[in-house]
């Protein structure tokens, strides 16, 4: 019975995910028709700002941002604050560690794709150490052993190899992204071994569980920053867009510039 229920829940979850994706695609199709797309301005200076923002779907994105912030104020923020104020910090840290460790294979493959052996070695060692000494990822022992966490994802790798980002997008409950990074996210799911667990296997439930919990945990940690964003910005949407775009480019630049030798490490 329980098994049947969990199978149903999984199907429902996937159905909802498919619906959400279909909804986004539908909205993007509408925007492609022009109604939710900002036409380029004629004034040269305004045009320069328009190009720098790289956000032709701004009307659509702003709507999505509004949906996100509406949900944030109505439900997510109170729950997030409750989580942050009542769940002990060590537990929240362990959930974050678990999430990072189980995503580590994707980081490793991304580092390989970027042609960065030192980073790939670090990711490999992190996975090995944290899955064993770190008790399946609950504890970040690898950082103590000299392998600090780093981020590499397929979107960064595509950027490093010269793939253009495409227009900026804002996805509710997920945040800022671009066409390239959205594609990178799909690739990263393909590079995460747990996603290949056989149907009906308990690991699938674990996969959904740690992903949802990890995402929520991270969100709870960011409620202060969201509050601050709203308090100190005149246009929080534009502030977030600019900060995210700059941060993303700096991550790609850092990946490109990471030419550390692998010697003396054995890998």
């Amino acid at each position: 019975m329980a098994c049947r229920r969990s199978t149903t829940q999984r199907k429902m979850g996937r159905t909802n995910t498919v619906r959400a994706l279909a909804g986004c695609l539908a909205l993007l199709s509408v925007s492609a028709c022009g109604s939710l797309r900002n036409p380029p301005p004629k004034d040269p200076e305004a045009l320069a700002d328009y190009k720098a923002a790289n956000d032709p779907y701004e009307p659509l994105n702003r709507k999505m941002f509004s949906v996100n912030m509406w949900a944030y104020h109505k439900a997510l923020r109170p729950v997030g604050r409750f989580w942050k104020n009542n769940i002990p910090r060590p537990i929240r840290h362990s959930i974050a560690n678990l999430n990072e460790t189980w995503r580590e294979p994707s980081v490793f493959f991304s580092d390989v794709g970027a042609g960065k052996p030192r980073r790939a070695g670090d990711a490999f060692m992190r996975y090995l150490i944290n899955m064993t000494a770190g008790v399946a990822g609950f504890f970040d022992v690898a950082s103590l052993a000299g392998y600090p966490q780093h981020e590499t994802d397929p979107g960064m790798v595509l950027g490093m190899w010269g793939v253009k980002s495409g227009p900026y997008l804002f996805i509710p409950f997920s945040g800022p992204t671009s066409f390239r990074d959205a594609a990178g996210y799909i690739i990263s799911q393909g590079l995460t071994p747990i996603n290949y667990a056989p149907r009906g296997y308990g690991l699938i439930s674990f996969n959904w569980g740690y992903n949802i919990l990890g995402t929520f945990n991270q969100f709870a940690d960011e409620t202060d920053q969201l509050d601050q964003l709203e308090h100190e910005s005149l246009d929080p949407y534009a502030f977030l867009r600019s900060a995210w775009q700059q941060n993303r480019q700096s991550q790609i630049d850092a990946l490109k510039a990471d030419n550390r030798a692998t010697v003396p490490d054995w890998y």
Binding site: S233, L234, D235, A238, F239, Q246, Q251
Partner: protein, 203 residues
């Protein structure tokens, strides 16, 4: 996921973390300046005075060592030219208030911090001096100050790859473009923000 580490908290809050730079090896006029500025701030921040008193003592240091007028002008972008002289003056006054509030409001939350200059590189905007901010039981923060001018001043601050003044410029120009390019609407919004900040400070 949405914000991760690149918020203004990191960028501006870290400005008051320039305090523990004295004693670091000097390598150039830019690092000398950052080290000296940090030393002056450290003298105030490490004292046992109440936060309100520290704020009063830190404000003149920030006014002297940060190119607030230059940053303000950059942030207004193409709208600087369409603003009247009176609007420019009023805007810069409000911008200074907003900037100083953002820097000083969190200075009490940074304690027992140690900083290390990691290096410097030239850039079109000035010399970029990168600093590692280390805090007990918390991950270190890497930030980059941009120093330019004679006498040297801080003209920008990068946190997690995001330029403070560029991000602020996006914020203000987007606001203006959505309000018909009327600089007065920005001035009104900043006035409200300053009043709100003062209420928060007094409570």
């Amino acid at each position: 996921m949405m914000l991760r580490r690149f918020t203004r908290r990191t960028m501006l809050g870290a400005a008051c973390l320039l305090t523990l730079l004295p004693g670091l090896a000097s390598a150039s006029p830019a690092t000398d300046f950052v080290s000296s500025f940090g030393g002056d701030l450290a003298h105030v921040l490490n004292s046992s005075e109440p936060v309100s008193q520290k704020r009063e003592e830190i404000l003149p240091l920030l006014r002297k060592n940060v190119d607030i007028q230059g940053i303000g002008r950059y942030v207004l972008g193409r709208y600087w030219r369409v603003a009247t002289p009176a609007q420019r003056t009023r805007y810069l006054t409000l911008f200074e208030d907003v900037l100083l509030y953002a820097v000083t409001v969190r200075m009490g939350s940074y304690q027992q911090v140690s900083l290390k200059i990691l290096g410097e590189v030239p850039s079109p905007a000035g010399t970029k001096v990168t600093v590692s901010v280390e805090r007990p039981r918390q991950p270190s923060i890497i930030l980059t100050t941009v120093v330019s001018g004679n006498p040297p001043k801080v003209v920008d601050l990068y946190g997690e790859g995001a330029s403070m003044r560029m991000t602020q410029r996006s914020d203000y120009t987007a606001f203006l473009s959505r309000h018909g390019g009327q600089v007065q609407t920005l001035i009104d919004a900043l006035s409200n923000q300053v009043a709100r900040n003062r209420n928060v400070s007094s409570n």
